[in-house]
């Protein structure tokens, strides 16, 4: 049972995203900031006539902002369209999805968003669940930021 995965480069490593989650992969235009939103939200961008919320994937994974990233994976999650910033992407390939190896310890946000492993030419890649990278919209987040 092989699935299709989009291979993308972000936060200094290659990851796989299930193609079923991906709407499209595009170059993103100008991003308009959304002040006071969670830091993982870079802002809003127009994609044709649709407005997408741009997520700084690196920040969502608990790392520093990816200021140079201009490409993004577009995904529709819970009726909203999001653009996940990535440094680069390759093509879509079929892979066998394997469960996370036991004994593999992932830190922080990676643990919450990695759902499995695929192997590309002997190199293991984490499978990221984009939905897990969407920041929650709760006020609690803001209070945390304000504090």
């Amino acid at each position: 049972m092989s699935e299709l995965f989009l291979i993308a480069h972000l936060a200094g490593r290659w990851v796989a995203v299930a193609a079923s989650q991906v709407d499209s992969a595009v170059d993103i235009g100008e991003v308009v900031a959304a002040p006071r939103a969670s830091p993982a939200v870079r802002g809003l961008a127009a994609l044709r006539s649709r407005v997408v919320t741009v997520i700084d994937t690196q920040v969502a994974l608990g790392q520093g902002p990816a200021l140079t990233a201009r490409r993004a994976i577009i995904a529709a999650i819970d009726g909203h369209h999001y653009a996940f910033l990535v440094d680069a992407f390759e093509d879509v390939f079929p892979f066998e999805r394997a469960p996370l190896s036991s004994g593999l310890v992932l830190e922080g946000r990676w643990a919450a968003s990695a759902t499995g492993i695929v192997e590309r030419d002997g190199e293991p890649l984490l499978v990221l669940d984009l939905a897990a990278l969407v920041p929650a919209g709760m006020i609690a987040d803001d209070q945390a930021i304000a504090a």
Partner: protein, 772 residues
């Protein structure tokens, strides 16, 4: 109603077209159940719509066919050829009639009885009357699926963006004027096109409201109830789909109100309410919400009974019910299967309860709230999001960024130059004073953390709780925007109402005024500021006028309420209209006294005003202006007295100015109406109206529906045509009356006012008579 009729015609035509195949098949095989059902549904729908649209002829035909088809469905009639033919003749006739309605041409109804008679079991076969050539008028409306409109809208937005990009590219290089002209034309067309397409999704809520008077009447009449329906805000625009989704909940709420809320006329009379119940349905846009309110003056929800029923049904334990707040108890009405009513009636209470209403509203992202005034009525408020609605907005700039603000939430925008605006630091908060009005100031740039955002202007934003000044960089534009929801991560900030994609092609966030105020931590500081001022005054104490009242008591009245002190003749005081009035300066001032005023001599009068209403307070003697201490002893059982204060070592009762005016406000709220019967010279409006209005009457030259005039004024040589109902009429003379002549000389001001007051009084008596 015209819209509804058009819709009905379109729908009937469509169904008929689709049905023609079914009819042929049914004719071939009369036992075919599926065909039979399709035809039954058609006549049933037509019957339903006819009742609603008041088309009795069509309704009668459809009803007859429905009866027969129902009998066939039940198996009590056999669908023989005669029956099939008779039904088909009726279906054809429905088609003809529909076309006749659409074309507005008459169609004689002589054969309709025959058509209906042919349905009877023992009917003789009737020769098919040849249908005349049908006059089919062109259809004026098309029915579209909403998602087609959505696609159209999305395509349109793409087109606008493409045009904008084209314009930008062309601007970068020398451009041929012919190309420029073509582009301009394109721009114009695209703009108009976008407006039109945007509008296709919008509909005035009137579409929902227009059916209401009929529905209320149809609900109230079988119950023997009288209901006056008032509709406000029918011009609010709402997404078409949203209107459809609101229809059922609203109908349900209104029926509930009429059925359960409003009492029978007899009951209302016994309760001292007007016989006709009042039902107010209103719509308004507030910020990013449309608020629909259904308010009645019926009996409200009997919360105790609701709780008892919940306990009886075992929904909650007694202890839990006892611990509930009033709101939670009221919210029990949303429990499935629970109603405050014991018996279901034909109108409502068929198992579809408020739980379904709430579920429907929440499904479209709305909220439902209730304000219950036990015994006095119920207000149900539906708040539904503005999503997909187009709202007029003002685009403001802060630093490099742009935001939209709903135009209707903005009272005004003022530049911070010049003397009109002043900004002060008050503690750690800032306050803007705009033309003497002090407002808390929220600086948008610092709230949003936008570096380099300088504040050059203030937008005065009105919210439900109060107003505040929002410091912005500049006003850039004013646009109609299609607002869509933003993702939860952005919505969670609480300051945005949605996002939009304006012509610039760059997304823009729509600010929510109330949200901004909340996030900025304004705890409605307009009030806080007032309190501060009051506190300052309190330290000095309130200034009051010390006087001896008519009953000899020494009392004080807040000086701010006293307009002036005058001496008047006791002869000018009359008990008219059931209370004391003073004629003064050609007008009438209502009087308040602690005891009966003297009949002769001179009296001292305090003329009190709250800025709007004026009343007089009679005293024996005014003394001096004193400062009242902050502390006052409370009083017991003395209406009109706010408390007892010690002034110069003496106990002084402080008159409750509020109570004086509150007592005065009651009649003033319904200021009696004078109907001016114009003689065509305009004298009434120019000369008479100000006099009457100054004396506390309202004036009108025509009556609004449902209004009655307390007194009608007319010239004696041109009396009103109808002197119906014995309504008091004051006739005015153009010349002073000779002895023995009736009427009042029109410049005899005092007599005129007195006559109007007397008329008013006679009317009140008459009304009282009728009430008995």
């Amino acid at each position: 109603m015209d819209d509804l009729l058009q819709e009905f015609i379109a729908e009937t035509r469509e169904t008929l077209d689709a049905l023609s195949g079914e009819i042929v098949l049914w004719e071939a095989n009369p036992t075919d159940r599926a065909r039979l059902d399709a035809i039954f549904r058609f006549v049933h729908t037509v019957k339903g719509s006819c009742g609603f649209l008041d088309l009795p002829r069509l309704g009668r035909l459809a009803h007859a066919a429905e009866d027969v088809l129902a009998a066939v469905r039940d198996g009590t009639r056999v669908p023989d050829t005669a029956l099939v033919n008779a039904v088909l003749a009726i279906v054809d006739r429905i088609g003809e009639l529909t076309e006749a309605i659409a074309a507005g041409s008459p169609l004689d109804d002589t054969t309709e009885d025959l058509l209906i008679a042919a349905l009877a079991e023992d009917a003789l076969p009737v020769a098919q009357a040849m249908a005349g050539p049908q006059m089919r008028s062109a259809s004026r409306s098309v029915r579209l699926a909403v998602d087609l409109l959505d696609r159209m809208m999305a395509g349109m937005s793409d087109m606008v963006l493409a045009r904008n990009e084209l314009a930008r590219r062309l601007r970068d290089q020398p451009i041929d004027p012919r190309v420029e002209g073509a582009l301009e034309r394109l721009s114009l067309t695209v703009g108009e096109m976008r407006d039109t397409i945007s509008r296709t999704r919008m509909q005035r809520i009137e579409a929902l409201f227009s059916a209401m008077p009929r529905m209320v009447r149809d609900t109230a009449t079988p119950l023997g109830k009288l209901v006056t329906l008032e509709v406000e805000g029918a011009d609010v625009e709402l997404d078409r789909e949203m209107i459809e989704l609101l229809r059922d909940p609203l109908v349900h709420i209104i029926r509930n109100s009429v059925d359960h809320g409003i009492e029978s006329p007899a009951e209302r009379r016994a309760l001292g309410k007007r016989e006709a119940g009042r039902l107010l349905v209103s719509a308004r846009q507030t910020g990013n919400q449309i608020v629909l309110e259904v308010s009645d003056d019926g009996r409200g929800i009997d919360v105790d009974r609701l709780v008892a029923k919940a306990a009886a049904k075992g929904l909650h334990t007694e202890a839990k019910l006892a611990a509930m707040t009033e709101r939670q108890r009221l919210d029990l009405i949303f429990t499935p299967g629970l109603s405050s009513r014991d018996t279901a009636t034909a109108i409502s209470g068929r198992g579809v309860g408020m739980d379904v209403v709430r579920a429907n509203i929440e499904q479209i992202g709305g909220r439902i709230a209730m304000r219950n005034r036990s015994g006095a009525g119920l207000t149900i408020e539906l708040q539904v999001p503005l999503t997909l609605s187009i709202i007029p907005a003002i685009v403001v700039g802060v630093g490099e960024q742009r935001f939209a603000l709903p135009r209707q939430s903005i009272e005004e925008i003022v530049a911070i130059r010049g003397d009109a605006v002043r900004i002060d630091e008050l503690g750690d908060s800032r306050v803007a004073t705009v033309r003497g009005r002090r407002l808390p100031l929220v600086d948008l740039a610092s709230l949003l953390g936008i570096a380099g955002g300088r504040t050059h202007a203030l937008a005065i934003v009105g919210t439900r709780d109060g107003n505040f000044a929002l410091g912005i960089g500049a006003v850039l534009d004013s646009e109609e925007l299609v607002v869509k929801p933003v993702c939860p991560a952005v919505m969670g900030t609480g300051i945005y109402a949605g996002q939009t994609l304006p012509d610039s092609g760059l997304p823009m966030l729509l600010l929510d005024g109330a949200g901004v105020a909340a996030v900025a931590g304004l705890r409605f500081e307009p009030q806080a500021i007032v309190t501060e001022n009051e506190a300052a005054v309190h330290e000095r104490g309130i200034e009051a006028l010390l006087f001896d009242d008519l009953d000899g008591q020494r009392r004080a009245l807040p000086l701010a309420a006293v307009d002036r002190v005058e001496t008047v003749s006791a002869l000018a005081i009359r008990r008219t209209g059931g209370r004391l009035h003073l004629s003064i300066e050609g007008g009438i001032v209502p009087l308040v006294t602690m005891t009966e005023p003297p009949a002769t001599g001179q009296v001292t009068l305090l003329r009190l005003t709250d800025g709007v209403t004026e009343i007089g307070y009679l005293i024996r003697d005014a003394h001096e202006i004193v400062t009242l201490p902050v502390a006052m002893a409370s009083v017991r059982g003395r209406p009109g007295i706010a408390g007892v204060a010690v002034v110069n070592g003496e106990q002084v009762e402080v008159v409750d100015g509020h109570a004086l005016f509150a007592g005065e406000m009651a009649p003033a709220a319904g200021r009696p109406l004078c109907l001016l019967h114009h003689d065509g010279t305009g004298w009434m409006d120019t000369f008479l109206r100000p006099v009457l209005e100054a004396s506390g009457y309202r004036c009108a030259s025509t009556l609004a529906p449902g209004e009655t005039a307390a007194v009608t004024l007319a010239m004696d040589d041109d009396p009103p045509a109808t002197l119906a109902g014995g309504d008091p009429v004051v006739l005015l003379r153009r010349r002073p009356a000779m002895p023995g002549e009736g009427g009042i000389y029109r410049y005899d001001r005092a007599a005129l006012i007195a006559a109007v007051a007397a008329g008013m009084e006679s009317r009140r008596d008459a009304v009282r008579e009728m009430a008995r």
